[in-house]
């Protein structure tokens, strides 16, 4: 076939060979698919608030009836997610668990699990909001008010903050003294009406109801009263120190308290 001849060029293919001559000269569909994917991504970002609300309510309902628990793996599928900053965390039981209260106090104290259980317990039911986006509604926490432990230890007048350390060996958190004395800050022993399991930070974790959940340090082992706030583990890595839900970390979640 002579390609210079216009009629020959226009002629329909007679053999598969002819059709196959230049099979790669068609429409640039690939580019359109790529740009379309980009467009859908941008649209997704714009429409996310609406989509997310829909997904949350739908998956929340499905999740209640899902015996496999697979919906928990979906984004916004509900339920807690496990975060640890170290490779492995030692397990502590009623036998070897100790919580120390020291620093700028008159009476440094060490509590066993039984000691903590013997103190007056406070139960609260509020939403848990993680800074990465997941939220678990109406989660009961139960434990000793932090203010009670601080009062028992006798905080000195020079103190201005409280630092929390954990027996995972790496995590730490801080609150101002004023924040630490709030009635909705607990040294929690129970969560979801069960003793706190190891994966949830048991046997004892901090619970700071009005703040993002990274403030609620897991595996709590030390309470140190300090002069000034010392940034905690994630705060050294960019998270806000005053972590009020909905008013920090560039997020606008509904407050939990």
């Amino acid at each position: 076939m002579n390609p210079e001849h216009p009629e020959a060029r226009e002629a329909p293919a007679e053999h598969p060979e002819d059709e196959a001559r230049e099979p790669e000269r068609g429409a640039p569909i690939g580019r359109r698919v790529l740009l379309g994917t980009l467009g859908l991504g941008a649209l997704g970002v714009v429409a996310a608030p609406v989509l997310q609300r829909g997904m949350e309510s739908f998956l929340g309902e499905v999740g209640q009836k899902d015996p496999t628990g697979l919906t928990g793996l979906l984004p916004n599928g509900g339920g807690f997610r496990y975060y640890s900053v170290v490779s492995s965390v030692p397990r502590k039981t009623a036998k070897n668990y100790r919580l120390t209260v020291d620093g700028l106090v008159d009476k440094p104290t060490s509590y066993t699990l039984a000691d903590l259980r013997a103190l007056p317990q406070t139960r609260m039911v509020k939403d848990v909001q993680c800074v990465t986006g997941w939220r678990v509604p109406d989660t009961p926490f139960e434990g000793v008010r932090l203010s009670e432990l601080l009062d028992a230890a006798g905080v000195r007048s020079s103190a201005g903050a409280v630092r929390f350390t954990c027996f995972d060996g790496a995590y730490s958190e801080s609150l101002t003294l004023e924040q630490a004395r709030r009635a909705d800050v607990l040294v929690a022993l129970r969560m979801q009406d069960k003793d706190i399991s190891h994966n949830h930070g048991g046997p004892v974790r901090l619970y700071v109801a009005p703040m993002y959940f990274y403030k609620s340090a897991k595996w709590l082992s030390g309470i140190e009263v300090t002069e000034k706030v010392e940034p905690g583990y994630w705060e050294k890595r960019g998270y806000d120190i005053d972590a009020w839900v909905g008013r920090s970390n560039g997020r606008d979640d509904e407050p939990t308290t």
Binding site: P23, G26, I29, L34, V45, S84, V86
Partner: protein, 207 residues
């Protein structure tokens, strides 16, 4: 020169050259980076794996940097003429691609005409390229939190999460197809494929 002299007398069918060394390395490095991205994502996301691995700050760092590097092999590969030509082939769709898609959708046993790349491969290449860029953009919005308005970040997280799940499924399909076709894998491992395979799978390809 020597090789030609030695090889000339015996007619050995070394097959058809499908990919150059540069193209194979683009695929390998992209696959490795994508693999690390997926594995670290799973360790951040799936509770059982998160419990097993822990080390959250390290996993996050690894995930962010491999994600950032992911488009680089393809961008660097654009220096290769063969790779550019194949990108062009993946981009352009002929009438036979529609036939291929229709046959594949109906799982029809008939012929599925394809040139160097079939319509499924073209669709996958374009989509995964777009999806990777969306992941990169939303990932950067989550990484540099103070550069974007707060509304955007929650939205970016939402898109990043759901698209990650979609990519996971599509990628599993991609790997599954490769597992089912040893000759296609040989093409990416050695650069060559057998003539029978080309005639069967890519009859319209004129290497």
């Amino acid at each position: 020169m020597n090789q030609r002299l030695e090889a000339a007398p015996v007619q050995v069918d070394t097959g058809v050259r499908r990919f150059t060394a540069a193209e194979r390395w683009i695929h390998r490095t992209t696959a490795a980076l994508m693999g690390i991205c997926v594995v670290t994502a799973a360790c951040l996301y799936v509770p059982a794996l998160a419990e097993l691995v822990g080390r959250r700050a390290l996993v996050v760092t690894l995930h962010k940097w491999t994600g950032l590097l992911l488009p680089l092999p393809v961008l660097a590969g654009l220096a290769s003429r063969a790779f550019r030509a194949d990108v062009g082939r993946l981009n352009r769709w002929g009438p036979h691609d529609r036939l291929w898609l229709r046959a594949a959708r109906r799982r029809a046993p008939g012929p599925r005409p394809a040139a160097k790349f079939n319509a499924g491969q073209k669709l996958y290449a374009a989509w995964i390229a777009g999806a990777t860029l969306v992941m990169l953009a939303t990932g950067l919005m989550m990484w540099f939190t103070h550069l974007t308005p707060l509304m955007w970040r929650t939205s970016a997280t939402f898109v990043h999460d759901w698209l990650a799940l979609t990519i996971g499924i599509v990628l599993a399909g991609h790997i599954g197809m490769a597992l089912g076709d040893p000759e296609a894998r040989r093409g990416l491992r050695t650069g060559s494929v057998s003539r029978e395979w080309v005639e069967r799978e890519h009859p319209l390809w004129r290497p």
